[in-house]
Every structure is written in structure tokens, then in C-alpha cells.
């Protein structure tokens, strides 16, 4: 009985904490959405207009038609999708290797992998640009997929290794006794158990790539490859900033990431994991 009431008390505390956090969390995002449907005059009114009397979709119309933001969104989707797939394939396999096999230089190699991510991107951009030109891949979506894959793989490997480490090796051994390869064990037994981790990692890669600016800026020059983050900067005028226009672009930029996160966060559930480990 006391366990149940204690549980209720904790749940109340959790909810109160979460609600106050979410309030602070959502004010800026709400403000962005709110601003995107305002007129220019309402957007800069002070005291702020929270519930605009006149709502308009003019800003979205401008963003979509005059600034052709859909082309940038398409580029972003291709680059981010490609990167996420490459990272998942290469990263998961490598993480499994690091987690399951003892081999000379393991500790060294895994640190090296992470160390590649410690260079400030600003310092990496120029040499990378030289390479991109040599490969004649400047201003292509492919070079951004390659760049982002290289940038994100270390994290994927590290995180997935962490998740694989938490899964007992007996599990894949049991699978292999039944007669299957390591790759089979990974696919059929280990990966389903590590699904929450994989989902979280994929969200991570997607968001990092979706929001990456510096490489995207340096390696592209026009709509052929230019992703959303680079285009967004163009919405800021030097002489006048239309807040509704910028906000509308921001909202459009957010939607695909939200959809992706909504789909993938569903896999961040216990179920399989707990059951598998116990078995």
C-alpha cells in the first residue's frame, strides 16, 4: 500500500517538474510559431501581441514561393536521409565489432575514432574544401553526405557500443549455438534488444545533420546542393528583418525533423530490451 502511495507522490513530483520544464522549453518555440502567422506590425508590437487579431499565411507564401525554400528542404532531406542510412549501416556494424571482439589495438582504435571528432569544424572546413574540389564534388549533395557521415560516425560507434555493451554476450552466443553467423546474431538478436539505443542514435544523427551549417555553407554555392540551414541565413536581411518571414522559414525547417523524431522515438521503449536481457 505504502509503495503505491509513494509511487503516486513521485509521479506527481515528476509531472510538476516536467510541466514547469516544458513551459520554459516551449515558450520560444511557441513564440516562433505564433510569429509566423502574424502581420509585420503585430510581430514587432510592444507589449507583445500573443493572440494576433489578424492571422495571415503571407509569410509562408513568401518563404515557399519567393525564396523557394522547398528546394532547400528537398536537398536537406536527401543529405540527411543519406547520412542517416550510411551512419546506421557502417556505425552499427563497427560498434558491434568493438563491443564483441577482443583484438589488438581495440582500445587505441576506438579512441582514435572519437578523436577525429575533436577537431574544431572551423579548422576542418578549409582542408575539406580542398579535397572536395580535387574530387570535383564541390557543390554536390554527395560531398555533404560523405562529410556528415564522417562527422557523425564516431558518435554512432560510441553510443551503439555503449548499448551493445549493456547486452549480455550470452545472448548472441545462444543465437550462434543454434547455428548463425555473428552478423546474423547482430541482426536477429542483438539489434532488436538495442532498438531503443538505435532509435535514439538515429534521431541524434538526423538532427545533427539536419542542423549542420558550417560544412554545408562552405561546400555549396547554390540551389543544386544548398540545404536548409544555409538558406535560413539568407532570410535575415541586413537592412530589415521580417520576423514573420524568418519565423515561417524556421517553422518549415522544423517540420521534417519533428516528423522524423516522432516516428523514431516510438522505438525508445523497454519491452523487448528488458525481456531479452532477462531471458
Amino acid at each position: 500500500m505504502s509503495g503505491r502511495s509513494q509511487n503516486l507522490a513521485w509521479r506527481t513530483v515528476a509531472w510538476l517538474f516536467l510541466l514547469s520544464y516544458l513551459l520554459i522549453n516551449l515558450i520560444p518555440v511557441g513564440w516562433l510559431i505564433d510569429t509566423s502567422i502574424k502581420t509585420d506590425a503585430d510581430a514587432v508590437a510592444f507589449p507583445p501581441v500573443v493572440f494576433p487579431a489578424q492571422m495571415t499565411l503571407r509569410a509562408f507564401d513568401l518563404a515557399l514561393n519567393q525564396f523557394q525554400i522547398l528546394a532547400n528542404i528537398r536537398n536537406s532531406l536527401i543529405i540527411t536521409g543519406g547520412t542517416t542510412v550510411c551512419c546506421a549501416l557502417l556505425g552499427v556494424v563497427a560498434a558491434y565489432g568493438f563491443s564483441r571482439f577482443a583484438f589488438p589495438g581495440r582500445q587505441f582504435l576506438i579512441v582514435v575514432v572519437l578523436a577525429t571528432r575533436m577537431v574544431a569544424p572551423i579548422a576542418m572546413v578549409i582542408p575539406f574544401l580542398v579535397v572536395a574540389r580535387d574530387l570535383e564534388l564541390f557543390n554536390s549533395k554527395l560531398i555533404l553526405v560523405i562529410a556528415n557521415t564522417a562527422l557523425n560516425l564516431p558518435f554512432v560507434i560510441w553510443m551503439m557500443k555503449g548499448f551493445f555493451d549493456s547486452i549480455p554476450t550470452e545472448l548472441d552466443e545462444a543465437a550462434c549455438v543454434d547455428g548463425c553467423s555473428h552478423l546474423g546474431a547482430l541482426r536477429r538478436v542483438v539489434l532488436p534488444v538495442a532498438l531503443p539505443g538505435l532509435a535514439a542514435t538515429m534521431i541524434l544523427v538526423f538532427v545533427f545533420t539536419w542542423n549542420e551549417f558550417l560544412f554545408a555553407w562552405a561546400l555549396t554555392s547554390n540551389l543544386t546542393a544548398e540545404p536548409l540551414t544555409v538558406a535560413l541565413k539568407d532570410f535575415i536581411g541586413e537592412q530589415v528583418t521580417s520576423w514573420p518571414l524568418f519565423s515561417a522559414a524556421g517553422v518549415l525547417a522544423m517540420i521534417p525533423a519533428v516528423v522524423f523524431a516522432a516516428i523514431f522515438q516510438r522505438y525508445i521503449v523497454a519491452g523487448l530490451g528488458a525481456g531479452g536481457v532477462k531471458g
Binding site: 513564440w31 563491443s99 571482439f101 560523405i146 549493456s166 539505443g197 530490451g273
Partner: protein
């Protein structure tokens, strides 16, 4: 055994190849640049090796020392605050039974915004005259006069940290949440059966089992914080390229200094030297974090 070893390499080599092939040349380029003098031959950068003078110059470089101090403050505060709050959020979300999808999405939202957008939105919200922050704080009576958040040397850095923490809590929370899901319910039940409190189970079950995830998150957050760039530029610089770290250098972190020396001053070698220092620093921080990671074997 040898077969097993070969097998292991076949697993890791594709990823290793991609990472190294793409990163080795830039890193080599950077190291070489940091010990060179740059000249411009027909408007193209050319380098001649010159030794470690750019590194020894840094010891007496006021801007570099200031950046080291500011980066330290930023990294420690931002990583610590986002880890603590993120852990709280993950634990709270883990307790949620109804509307899980919606709650999780709400938690994730700030992180899904491109930094250009969140930076500019916050810059606007921090505006001394028309900002939402001053308006809310003055209306609820927490503030008497309009605070120029980004112009005041006392509040500029805390404001930047606040925004960085705001952006990264979702990242911390989602990874820790995934970690929490791998902890079997049976363990909690065992504590409950033994009459342990929730605090007890948090301390003896959750925290130890979450340790690897906490450390991975710590590692990634620290790597990012040590070379933070765009969010500081959007908040404390200006919309157009300047990275002065105003007011009075209080937000001049390493990332800004590296950019300023290379892009604004065309001092590519001097900039590379700072980048190398940051690289070494990050490596040291990571090394100690990794030492704390439990080893599987």
C-alpha cells in the same frame, strides 16, 4: 583466434576507413599549418615550416588566455547544467504513462530547431526594449528595470549558457531515456520487495546502470561545448559575421577566436595553432572521461 581477429577487423574496417580517409588529411593539414608561416602566392595560401612559434606566442596572448577562461566557464556550466536537468527530464519522462509521444516530442522540440533559428529567436527575446524575456519578468515582478541581457558584462555569458543548456537538455534527455529503457523492471521490483525507497533504487539501481550512458553524454557534450561557435555568434556577435565576443570579450570562446583569426584576419597559421590547442584539450578531457567508463572486458 586468428580467424576471430580477422572477423573483428572486417566488422570495424568499413567505418574506420570512412572516418580516417576523410578526417586524416584535414587533421594532418591542420597540424602542418600550425607549425608553418603562411604566405600568399598569386592569392593562394602557401606554407613554409617555421617551428612552434605560434604556440609559444599564445602564452603571452591576452585574447587567447581570455578565451581559455571563457571557454572553461562556458563548458563546465553548460555541460553540468544540461546533464543534471537532462537527467531529471529523462527520469520524469520515464514515469509518464499517458501521452508519451506528445511529451517526448515536446521535450525534443528545442533541439530540432536549427541553431540559426534558435539563436536568432533568443537574441530577439533577450532584446532590452522589445524582448519577451524582459516583458515576462517585469510582468511577474521579478525585474524592475529593463535588463540589456546581451549588452551587460554580468549577464551576457549566463544568457549564452542558458540558451545552450536549453538547446541541449533534449539531447541529454533522449539518450538517457533510451538508457533507462535498458534497465530491467525486475531490478526495481527486487529493491521494492526488499523494502527500499525510490531514492534507494535510484541510487543503487538507476545511477550505476546509467553510468555508461551518462559518461557518453558527458563526453559528447564536452566535445561540443569546448568548441561552441554558432550559438554564441548568433547571440553575442551580430547577424553578420562578426565574432568579437562582446560585451568586452566576455563571450569570446575558443570557437570565436579560431574563426576570427582565420576568416577575419587571414591569420590561418595562428588560428590553426589555437585549433590544435583546443584539440589537445578536448583529447585530455575525453581521455579522463573514457577512463571513467566501465570496461567490458
Amino acid at each position: 583466434m586468428a580467424r576471430n581477429r580477422l572477423y573483428a577487423y572486417s566488422f570495424i574496417s568499413p567505418a574506420l576507413f570512412v572516418v580516417l580517409a576523410i578526417v586524416v588529411y584535414p587533421v594532418f593539414f591542420l597540424l602542418q599549418l600550425s607549425v608553418s608561416e603562411v604566405s600568399f602566392v598569386q592569392a593562394r595560401m602557401a606554407t613554409t615550416l617555421s617551428g612552434f612559434n605560434h604556440f609559444s606566442d599564445l602564452i603571452s596572448d591576452g585574447a587567447f588566455l581570455n578565451s581559455a577562461y571563457r571557454t572553461g566557464i562556458f563548458t563546465v556550466s553548460s555541460v553540468f547544467l544540461s546533464l543534471i536537468t537532462g537527467l531529471g527530464v529523462a527520469l520524469a519522462v520515464n514515469k509518464v504513462r499517458k501521452g508519451v509521444t506528445l511529451v517526448r516530442l515536446a521535450v525534443l522540440l528545442p533541439w530540432l530547431l536549427p541553431p540559426v533559428v534558435s539563436g536568432l529567436i533568443w537574441r530577439w527575446m533577450f532584446h532590452d526594449q522589445f524582448g519577451l524575456v524582459n516583458w515576462i519578468l517585469m510582468n511577474v515582478g521579478l525585474l524592475q528595470n529593463r535588463q540589456p541581457w546581451m549588452a551587460d558584462v554580468a549577464t551576457a555569458m549566463p544568457s549564452v549558457i542558458w540558451v545552450d543548456v536549453w538547446i541541449h537538455i533534449p539531447f541529454v534527455a533522449i539518450i538517457l531515456l533510451a538508457g533507462l529503457q535498458t534497465i530491467p523492471d525486475e531490478l526495481y521490483e527486487a529493491v521494492r520487495v526488499d523494502g527500499g525507497s525510490s531514492l534507494h533504487s535510484f541510487w543503487h539501481v538507476t545511477l550505476p546502470l546509467l553510468r555508461p550512458y551518462l559518461l557518453v553524454v558527458l563526453l559528447i557534450r564536452a566535445i561540443f561545448a569546448l568548441r561552441v561557435f554558432d550559438i554564441v555568434v548568433m547571440l553575442a556577435g551580430s547577424k553578420f559575421g562578426s565574432v568579437a565576443g562582446a560585451p568586452a570579450g566576455t563571450t569570446q570562446v575558443f570557437g570565436l577566436l579560431i574563426w576570427q583569426r582565420a576568416i577575419e584576419h587571414l591569420k590561418f597559421a595562428e588560428s590553426a595553432a589555437i585549433a590544435v590547442v583546443v584539440l589537445v584539450l578536448t583529447f585530455v578531457v575525453s581521455f579522463f572521461s573514457i577512463k571513467m567508463l566501465p570496461s567490458k572486458t
